[in-house]
Symmetry: C2
Subunit: 173 residues, 2 copies
DNA sequence: CTAAATCTCTTAGTGACTAAGATATATATC
DNA sequence: GATATATATCTTAGTCACTAAGAGATTTAG
């Protein structure tokens, strides 16, 4: 096999592996929501709140891609479950900040323990330098996927007949 | 900073980076479903069909975690959209295989082009050996998350008071 | 002070989902 | 071979999260 072919095969294998693991990650999230007894989007919002801290309802809508109306429902449910609190911004009284109730973060956090333990065990098999490589890749991947998402959204606003033809790779099977 | 602390910080940073990129991956998928004009689960099933080839309705339910009733709906919609075909198994006439209509794979596949191009560009910055490391990690990660998912599901069948207390890491913030 | 903009919430309607059971086919037991 | 049990998909009724549109409250611009 030529050097070039070997690399193409490697890239394809990597893509498939990442798709598989990412799909399983989604399933893990669904299972967490299930066990925690909350809806999927509710958990996603908890996750965002955990990563970003106290954010407005509008920002949640922006990040999740849901309408503000849907977010009202999400926050209602989370508030009723005692997981978050609404806090009106005193500077701009239109805004509503959503904040995680401290103890709640742990209640939800415990369901990520099996995952964290699994990842930790796996990471033990890698040197610091290797982990830094993985970190770099994850960061670049994030930026790449973010940009790709925007590019794709751009397609939505372009009428189909005006869309630039995308160059297709040949598909397997 | 001690060697140990540096590593712990690295691990945490890696975890956060992976969560972020994985969340963005989910959003990319939602956008694809949106642009393609199909439901999220429908796209997920197309993905599975693409990875696993021709599978039964029951297997789709198993892999997605949906009920068989929901899968009936998914397949109905996908069939109506001309993306898949139902094929009765002649050996066991209870079974229904779901197969992707060949051209349809490309129709959907094109929406992954922005993502693939982004990933390819990123991968160009890595040597074969580095990509092999990433592949190994992705594969191990998949297995780890799969196992963690099962562990978590196990919790569901255990009454809460009998659940083994999970050791909690201290949470940020 | 008024008009426009911004932010969240409300309402009505839609659609995908679950639970339970119906239907059809296959396998095991007598 | 007939009967019972198991397996695989589909159907039905009801639920719940979502969107679209617009209302209400507050801020900013003219």
């Amino acid at each position: 096999m030529s050097r070039k072919k070997a690399r193409a095969a490697l890239l394809q294998e990597l893509e498939e592996a990442m798709r598989r693991s990412s799909a399983q990650g989604v399933l893990y999230g669904q299972t967490v929501a299930n066990v925690a007894g909350i809806a999927n989007s509710d958990l996603e919002c908890m996750d965002i709140l955990y990563l970003e801290g106290r954010v407005t309802a509008g920002r949640l809508a922006e990040v999740t891609g849901l309408t503000t109306g849907a977010i009202t429902g999400v926050v209602d449910r989370l508030e009723k479950a005692g997981l978050v609190r609404r806090e009106r911004d005193e500077k701009d009284r239109r805004k509503v900040f959503i904040a995680v109730v401290p103890d709640a973060a742990m209640k939800i956090g415990q369901f990520y323990v099996p995952m964290q333990q699994a990842m930790e065990k796996i990471c033990n098999g890698y040197s610091d330098e290797e982990l830094r490589l993985l970190l770099r890749f994850a960061n670049e991947g994030y930026k790449g996927v973010l940009a790709a998402t925007e590019a794709l959204k751009g397609l939505l606003d372009t009428p189909p007949e005006k869309r630039p033809a995308l160059k297709l790779k040949k598909l397997r099977r």
